[in-house]
């Protein structure tokens, strides 16, 4: 009578033991089979653009002062830039960056534009405050005066990806040793990163680009190119290359205003830039920044003495 019960108990126990043994065995984890290959981000060396190391500066033969229309001179500029003419490459880059879609607009048309924009509810900020239509009009007028200088001989330029192309020429000019292009490099360095989806994938290239932009800017400054001062001001303002620092931004802008190179900019526009940079600072900070600017300006050709 008990034999069948004993057999059932024994069989059931054996099954339990077997199941327990099966589940309690220690599995060989995948981690034990293959160690993980770790990526060392820190170990990576920024890859510099090859041209920056190997190019040699050639004497420019197409000067920026060439007055022929841009459309006429462009093929020659491109040929020369590809042959290693840094000035030609720089001119191409700056023209594409500054003058794409440029059309001269008479002042009275500008006023109509601003009135129309105001009627449609358009608003703009200058610094932290909402700009009045008069302020916007003034800025438009000053910007247009600057464009008339920068874009002389350019009309009807209508390029797609103008900023990307501008960067390619500036990159070339900088690699060829042009200090203006080196100063400008940081302002255009991220122009070809426009795909949000790939931002993380492109992050290493962006980091290399940022490092090169910083190097170029400092190199340009070390060579006494005053354009680097106003570019430093811009980068301290926008925080792209350096942590945003309004006081430093004002100091560099002030330094630029003390150099002969400041004559490249419409005086009232430069005053406006200085006023905007000074706006967030208190009096003490402005004083400190001007004193620092005075020292920074020593790098470059100084204009006649300026008072605040």
């Amino acid at each position: 009578m008990y034999r069948p019960i004993a057999l059932v108990i024994t069989a059931a126990t054996a099954i339990v033991v077997a199941v327990v043994a099966w589940h309690s065995r220690k599995p060989v984890s995948p981690a034990e089979r293959a160690p993980i290959a770790q990526e060392s981000v820190a170990a990576k060396t920024p890859a510099r653009e090859q041209g920056a190391r190997t190019s040699t500066h050639k004497t420019a033969t197409v000067a920026t002062a060439d007055d022929r229309p841009f459309t006429e001179i462009r093929p020659e500029l491109e040929r020369r830039a590809l042959e290693g003419d840094a000035l030609a490459a720089r001119r191409l880059g700056l023209t594409l960056a500054n003058c794409n879609h440029y059309t001269d607009v008479p002042d009275d048309k500008l006023e109509d534009m601003v009135v129309d924009q105001a009627a449609r509810g358009f608003t703009a900020k200058i610094g932290d405050h909402e700009a009045q239509p008069e302020e916007i009009l003034n800025l438009y007028k000053l910007s247009l005066r600057q464009k008339r200088r920068d874009c002389k001989g350019v009309s009807g330029l209508d390029e797609t990806d103008a900023w990307k192309k501008a960067f390619q020429w500036i990159e070339r000019a900088a690699a060829l040793g042009d200090t203006d292009a080196q100063a400008m490099y940081g302002a255009l360095a991220f122009a070809d990163f426009t795909n949000d989806r790939n931002a993380l994938v492109d992050a290493d290239r962006m980091r290399d680009r940022k490092q090169l932009a910083t190097d170029y800017l400092q190199r340009s400054l070390a060579k006494g190119d005053a354009l680097a001062l106003i570019q430093m001001a811009g980068r301290y303002q926008d925080g792209v290359l350096f942590p945003a620092d309004p006081e430093k931004a004002y100091a560099y802008a002030w330094a630029y205003s003390l150099t002969t190179r400041a004559s490249d900019v419409v005086p009232e526009l430069l005053d406006e830039v200085l006023a905007q940079r000074a706006a967030p600072l208190d009096d003490a900070a402005r004083e400190r920044a001007r004193a620092e600017g005075q020292q920074l300006a020593a790098c470059c050709d100084l204009a006649a003495e300026k008072t605040p």
């Binding site: 008990y2 034999r3 019960i5 004993a6 108990i9 024994t10 126990t13 054996a14 339990v16 033991v17 327990v20 043994a21 589940h23 309690s24 220690k26 599995p27 984890s29 995948p30 981690a31 034990e32 993980i36 770790q38 990526e39 981000v41 509810g121 991220f190 990163f193 426009t194 795909n195 949000d196 989806r197 790939n198 931002a199 993380l200 994938v201 492109d202 992050a203 290493d204 962006m206 980091r207 940022k210 925080g239 792209v240």
Partner: protein, 314 residues
């Protein structure tokens, strides 16, 4: 039954009892296992992601850092619990070693980073501006305008309330927002590994990444390693994350666009039975539009291999 039979039966029963007890003692999962979580029995995950020196989230480890995150989970606060109270509770549970609480804590704290607060502030300003515009919007009736304005105001109130709740948290807790889920991942929790890959890469565009390059690269690389590790440990849910990471997207993702890989991982996901609604089918359909017949066949074969390797035996 003979005496000899009785002895044999008694010994076998005793052996079974000992074996069951032994198993219960040693094979108990380190934390209450969630359905989608594959817990490691080996501690090697800690070597996966040593805290980076310049990662603000890991730079200031809490005092409890060395404590293994292996205790059972608690009932977590739900979405109705006020933010500050929920964070305090989750913090307490996470410090006690609850991985699920640690994961949830990082998600909640991710709303309090300076970056997120800035975005919320911009949205708030935009809503305030829109309210002013809405007052004269003739496209809608006065009643419709009132409803729209009420909705915008509700959003603004939520932004303000969230910001105040975030500011009320300690600076250390906010700074270490990513550390909790990272440590849970390092303990071998695959849900945390997958969660890390989502929460750590909440960038919206090129500018966001450009402003945070070193951290973005570090988190991207760690996310890639975690997803691969989760898959290697047999967590089939990682297939969906990987398929998504290779898809087209409006926001930054951790891998380059690759329709063939997106298809392969999504297909592997369907084989593993992790489809939610028809999400993986949609991924496959989207990817298939960019692939020719041969590429599609190759992607399908790759998907099958991925499935066989990661998940067929789990």
């Amino acid at each position: 039954m003979t005496l000899r039979t009785r002895w044999i039966a008694a010994i076998v029963i005793a052996a079974a009892v000992v074996a069951i007890g032994w198993n219960k003692w040693h094979a108990m999962p380190p934390a209450a296992a969630r359905a989608s979580t594959v817990q490691s029995t080996t501690p090697d995950a800690t070597s996966l992601a040593a805290p980076p020196a310049n990662d603000a989230a890991s730079a200031k480890p809490p005092a409890t850092r060395a404590k293994p995150l292996t205790t059972p989970s608690h009932v977590l606060p739900d979405w109705r619990t006020p933010f500050g109270e929920a964070v305090a509770t989750l913090h307490e549970y996470a410090e006690a070693g609850d991985n699920d609480a640690a994961i949830e804590l990082s998600w909640r704290l991710s709303r309090c980073t300076e970056h997120e607060l800035k975005i919320a502030e911009r949205s708030e300003q935009s809503d305030r501006h829109d309210i002013e515009q809405e007052k004269t919007n003739e496209l809608f009736t006065p009643d419709q305008r009132a409803v729209r304005i009420k909705n915008m105001q509700r959003r603004i109130d939520e932004y303000v309330s969230q910001r105040e709740a975030c500011r009320a948290l300690s600076a250390d807790l906010r700074a270490d927002w990513l550390g909790w889920i990272d440590r849970a991942a390092q303990s071998g929790n695959t849900a945390a590994m997958r969660g890390y890959a989502r929460v750590a890469n909440q960038y919206y565009n090129v500018e966001d990444v450009r402003n945070d390059l070193d951290t973005a690269i570090e988190r991207r690389d760690k996310s890639r390693a975690y997803l691969e590790e989760a898959l290697r440990r047999g967590d089939a849910e990682a297939l969906r994350d990987l398929a998504d990471a290779y898809r087209d997207s409006a926001h930054p993702t951790i891998y380059p666009l690759d329709p063939a890989k997106a298809y392969a991982y999504a297909y592997a996901g369907t084989l593993a039975g992790i489809t939610r609604g028809n999400d993986l089918d949609e991924t496959m359909a989207e990817a298939a539009r960019s692939l020719d017949g041969k590429q599609l066949a190759d992607a399908e074969a790759a998907g099958r291999r991925i499935y066989e390797k990661c998940c067929a035996k789990h």
